[in-house]
Point group: C5
């Protein structure tokens, strides 16, 4: 199943900015909300479907992380927007899952949009899910479309276990960790793609079939979509790394540089894939040409061998009364010999042309 | 119906700058002018065909918006130019509908040229209409070519209803709203294009016809025109967002950033479409090659099967007096058997080559 | 007639810089010189072939414009060079008609090189003529190759008539007007090209002939030359607009921005033409492939229909003594029936393959 | 054997940053560690497999260089990291051999990742090995994957011999020397590639075979990988040369500029190779087309010669009772003559078309 | 004879920087050294093969120019290096004739590397020779490979004759003059290439042969090499023109700008050539396709005409006892008529398809 080229968003035309309309696949299950609070010594985790009570995060000690899975509940978003002072355009962008990865600084908080990629269930292809992050001074809000499994599970594990530095550093480090989890997933996609390209490569050399060009196109299309998700990511992360917002602390920069490196590496690989795929198409086309050439040669050899022979036997099939050869004692063997000579000459000619 | 590559504008060669000549399709209907004045508490709307009386907008309270539909009336434009102190070059640009989207700062006002795109009635293709905006400290002038329906209707609705922030913010917010209305329309065009590309894609895989390449070219051409309208838009909006003119207020910037994001997203999609279309051409070409190959194979198989047979039957159709085989009791069945063996051998050869 | 790829200039190799050698087509007619002096109230015009007397322009009231048509007279140039203090390299560049459009600031004056384009007489193609402008504080010198008609005639008309602002503004406005006259001419070329491309487009879809690819190439070549003339123009004009020289006054900037816009628009169109032409080549190639495919199908259908039939009739043309079928009463009709069945089967097979 | 498109790294997804996992080919042999200390007058060299005792390098006189061959020993790396205060992310990057060449400034030390390239043993192709360098104020740590031979042997030789300036300059000069040794190796790869391209070029002109396109693709793929290793190198070295870190001394800059030049030269060559390869593919495709054309001509000539002849002899093979020609005395010779005339006419026709 | 893709330089791998190894074609003749000293009033010229005595140039009055032809004498270079205080890396670069054009500022002197291009003797193609220039405060050292004739002869002539400004300006003007002499030579190469491209163009339209694609490729290859030599030149000269070194005087800048313009013009032409060549390949390919199409049509027409006829005559060649037509009085003429009708119908069909 292929990714749609664009998502249906024309329904929004004419509405005032900040109007909350969910764009994307709507899921029936309710949204799930989890609240995690931690500092170096303590850790609490709590699932909640009721956010009627707005918890004031700014004054809470430690770092608070609210994760929302399933963003189609417009009421929930509106409540959260009021509670944490989010701009209506931010809420609009969270709902509109056709966003480009971006980073916006609203002063009191940073708004980051990313694309989570995962292999599609049961088919070749890549599923894309929008993840929105909001980084405040001591809290992080994250919004997932909630299509596939949760990429943030390992992060939650590490918070629980208190492994690494994650508990001792601030909210910006949590955002880094979440971005890192998403980017790490891209490598899985890359390996998947690389495998498929390499299989295609082998197939093309061994025995290209008619469907091959279709699969080549499908791969190319996936890579075009990948690029669209990954190129803007570079800018997003490099802006964080340059500490354009004061919400990013000095200590986190070295880690952000690391994710940045990974992003560059992924972009590099994607570009390499593009180059290789376009090379594969050239191979494919020249293979078809070669084959047509081969078929033509067989035809030409057969025609060139048998046409003169058929002419000769036709000649002596004529019914003229006066054809001296027909009466000769050795006429028939002589004609057979003549035909052998013709065939021999033809074969020599073909060998000279290196056709056989 | 295809868009013309360039509009007839050579008639202007040699005229002094600021000469008002209408370039574009001329419409018979008269121009329509509407004047809207509003502030947070009041709202008045009035249609007028008579602008002999120049209304001094600068000293009026609230925000005034004059919308002109149908720009071919040179006298009307001249009067407005005098009344609101517009530069002759601005008037010239409004009349010349072959402009590129641009933003020009004349100190007292900002001049913005945009392209409104809408699907063509009754045919595949995109109609393009020029919209010129002039942003003064407390007024907005807008000029539409007036070809298709009015894209500003929803804006007028919102002004009337007083929904959103639109009535409480200034003239720059109105300009933003108008630009947003135009850019929102682009998404409709994109979806339309995406649908057509996807249909073409399916057709190409299933059963490419001869006309397919023509439709591919038509799509490519439309995308070329789209790019021409959209790429300069990026610069126009990013200049507004960077507040290069003092007429743009701080509060509007966050909204302009939003339209800017939409523009980038549209550009992204258009580039993706280009990539995909060029991939489709490759598929098309390789499909034709494949077909030629198939046809050749059929021909070669038939010729290779029947040429030797025809030779054999020709051989025994010769009229030599001394051909011992002809007299044999089992000559005929033997020849039939021989031919069966030949056919069998050929079929084996073809199977070896994977042709059948 | 095609434009030469490069002009003969190797003859200059080894000469010291500033050596005056005319490079380009030499014309037999003598150079024509005209001197125009004007200010807001007065206007005088005078033709002169004798510039022995150097008129000191700097101290003259009003704006003086000396236009030289036909630049092959080296002596004339040398005299003017001495009289107005022009750098030897400037004179060299005026004479060398293979220059790239450029703008050079010599402090006391600005030196501008442009390309005037006009449709070639009696053939498709574009003629290019070099125009050099020198802008001093209160004078303008212009040098035309003098091949085609005079593009500056409308400017002279306006000066005479005193229409527009031209008489009240300074020498820099005159330079702007001259540049504008040249750039306006480009639109004529563009329309001409657009017409030819559109005709080619229609022809390609309807009935591409063998010569089509030659005409496509000719168009491509013209566009390559156009780009070479127009791309550098952008930089030339943008430099003037940014007022990098004090010889350009504040009031002229808005007009220069207008020509700049036109230049960008022309570049846009030229790039669009390139894209469309490359698309046309693809159509052409795929049309040829399609045709070969059609021809192959006809051949294959004919061969496939008649080869088995010819075999069958050949079979019963054999002269074996013992061929029971030959003696049968209904042998002949049976064979005819058999052949009908074979033909019917073949036709069904072709219909299945959608060949007929 | 081809290079893998990407290395298996998905196993790291979800692990906290700084987790040490070796990515790449694991080698059975133990890591080898050598410690070299020198200043202008003294030189000592020592191999060690035991780094349990951390040698404090910072206070040592002269320059110390620790070279580690074989980086798969995670414990060794961890010890060194603790001993010399390396950031966990640095250790992670050393272990992950799928890094892109990069340079990172950690204040107290510079971290540089490079790719060592060497021709593959026993097959066409390029082997790539990651080399990580750490430059401290008076020490250098280098980490090699240890696949192929040691590229640093000549450097060690020069240190031992005290040739050149190497012993009198600091640690930054040693780093330069190591980078230079790696870049020098690239020229070997380039020459190897150039040879293969030139051989392919000759083969293509003389007698392109079916495998040629496969070899062309293999070369293209190698060049794509080369670019991936070399392009980022440019930035790495230019950053060093601009002395962005204070660890690089003024005296070393001129040498770094030299390596930088070499890098640019290598990039130039690689780009040239790309251009030439894409030209070769064009030649290949047009050669196949030409061949098909040739084959077609042979077929057409044969068919055009023999089909009319076969028709004529078939005509006089008919068994009509009343066919006057059959009874003529000179019927048979007349038909032979007619056929000669037909053949002559055909040959003339072919000569007119320049087919023979 | 084609240019080698890369020069043999791998022999240097592993040597310390500054090691002098000559890379390039070694010539048997000895190096020639000439010393020229001049100021506005005096001029002396002297050939010397013995530079054992180091002449102190810095304190000499006037400008001194030492020209070395044939750079393979390592001892000579070493002596000069010591005498004039040249950095070992400079000497290394002079000897290594595989350098990229570059400009390096060593404070006391500027080091410039250029490529002299000249048409190859007796064959199509371009010979490239490295020229290194060293500009000191009052002296110039120039090093030529010494393969072809001396491009500096005209310069020497002008110095002797005292023509132009050359004797009154400093060493930087001499360097300009030498660069100008080299760049002027490029125009000869360009004209040569343009001629060959135009001839190829005509040939392709008139009658493309099989070798044409080979010549096209050869031209493309030459242009690739030209670009490699010319692109970096732009940066070299623009750096001089911006007076990044104090060794370049204000008065020389206007002249350097002139050479810079020439360089840009050459680059423009080379890019144009590339575009045109790639267009030529398209023409070539479509011509081959067209031809195949033509050949196919001839074959199909012949086969379609004669196959049905052959079938008909075969039909009446059958030996059935009961075939009433054979006995008819007008059977034979009726069959002849039938065949005429068939041929007429076929010809009409072909005319309908515009094949004949």
């Amino acid at each position: 199943m292929k990714n749609k080229l664009v998502k249906k968003r024309s329904s929004k035309a004419g509405l005032p900015p900040g109007t909350l309309v969910h764009i994307g696949e709507r899921h029936r299950e309710a949204s799930r909300v989890s609240i995690t609070t931690y500092d170096e010594s303590s850790f609490s985790e709590q699932a909640s479907d009721d956010l009627a009570a707005c918890i004031p995060l700014r004054d809470r000690p430690g770092v608070s992380w609210i994760n929302v899975e399933g963003i189609h509940s417009i009421e929930l978003l509106q409540k959260m927007g009021e509670c944490y002072g989010l701009h209506p355009l931010v809420l609009e962008d969270i709902l509109n899952t056709d966003q480009r990865p971006k980073r916006e600084d609203y002063g009191a908080y940073l708004f980051i949009v990313l694309k989570m990629l995962s292999p599609k269930n049961g088919s070749e292809g890549v599923a894309s899910e929008q993840v929105s992050l909001i980084l405040g001074p001591n809290f992080v809000l994250s919004f997932q479309e909630g299509l596939a499994g949760d990429p943030f599970d390992p992060v939650r594990e590490r918070l629980r276990g208190g492994r690494g530095k994650i508990r001792s550093l601030g909210a910006d480090f949590l955002v880094y960790t979440l971005i890192d989890a998403i980017v790490d997933n891209y490598f899985v996609i890359l390996e998947n793609l690389a495998d498929r390209i390499e299989r295609l490569e082998e197939e093309l050399v061994a025995n290209p079939a008619r469907e091959t060009v279709g699969r080549l196109h499908a791969l190319k299309r996936e890579i075009i979509f990948l690029r669209k998700s990954i190129w803007p990511l570079r800018e997003v992360i490099s802006g964080l790394e340059r500490r354009e917002s004061t919400l990013v602390r000095e200590e986190t920069v070295v880690y952000l540089r690391d994710v940045y490196d990974h992003t560059i590496q992924i972009i590099d690989s994607v570009e390499t894939f593009r180059d290789i795929l376009s090379g594969l198409l050239d191979i494919y086309l020249s293979t078809i040409s070669n084959r047509t050439n081969e078929v033509m040669k067989v035809l030409t050899i057969i025609a060139t061998l048998f046409m003169p022979l058929t002419f000769i036997v036709g000649l002596y099939g004529m019914n003229f009364r006066y054809m001296p050869e027909l009466e000769w004692r050795w006429g028939y063997p002589a004609v057979l010999l003549l035909m052998l000579v013709v065939v021999g000459g033809m074969l020599k000619f073909f060998r000279g042309k290196k056709w056989i």
